[in-house]
Subunit: 141 residues, 2 copies
């Protein structure tokens, strides 16, 4: 599957197949599917039309099972949204290799009305909260 | 079996169930099971005897599926290990609520001989690499 160049290189992080799939050279060094946690933080979030609306501030992961459940987004300066954070189910985001960021399929009104986390708030991240957030975004928990 | 081993253990590790049974309340603000990505980074890693051996520098997560596959540990100053990073399968770490950190069950020699990532290295994070790292740590990929 991998071509000769790929087989001959043990140091390059990008597979030829990945370059073909994405149609351009990617700058990331995490390989095809994995990304460093500290690089997810700060990754841009776009709407389906390619408009940048915010970025991933951090994400919430199961301490034990290692599953990412939420991306916590910041929108300061975009769409007139405030500086507060907004939790989104991880499954509501699609990674786009061309944009090198995540796409959130949501109308502007949906985004503006979505649940927020204010600076002094500490969500419980429990089942009730999941029902609220996953429910809002229409994603099964 | 695990319960018996846990009860007989003289280490500082306590099972989650024991803490729940004793009514121990957790101080963290991430809730019972979730932790913020930027708080995993920097979390201490202990050996089963409670000795701190290093910390989680960052972790590697699937861009799309949101699964944590590796913790990348730094050991500078501990056990005479160098400053290089060492990737460990996420499943090789156990979160310990009493220690408020992760426990890595490994003999000192195993730890010292474990695969490293030098500063200028960029692992492929592909199946061959997984076979190497997960294989070394005896964890199914």
């Amino acid at each position: 599957m991998a071509d000769t160049a790929e087989r001959n290189s043990t140091t390059r992080s990008r597979s030829v197949r990945e370059l073909v799939d994405s149609g351009h050279m990617m700058e990331r060094d995490e390989g095809k599917d994995l990304i460093a946690s500290d690089r997810v933080e700060g990754t841009a979030v776009y709407r389906p039309d390619g408009e940048k609306v915010g970025k991933i501030h951090h994400f919430m992961v199961g301490k034990r099972n290692g599953r990412v459940e939420y991306a916590v987004l910041s929108f300061g300066g975009f769409l007139g949204l405030g500086a507060e954070h907004r939790p989104v189910p991880w499954e509501a985001l699609d990674y786009d290799t061309a944009l090198e960021g995540y796409v959130l399929s949501a109308e502007e009104d949906t985004l503006k009305a979505s649940p927020t986390i204010r600076d002094n708030e500490r969500p419980d991240w429990d089942r009730a909260y999941a029902a609220q957030i996953y429910g809002y975004w229409g994603v099964p928990y």
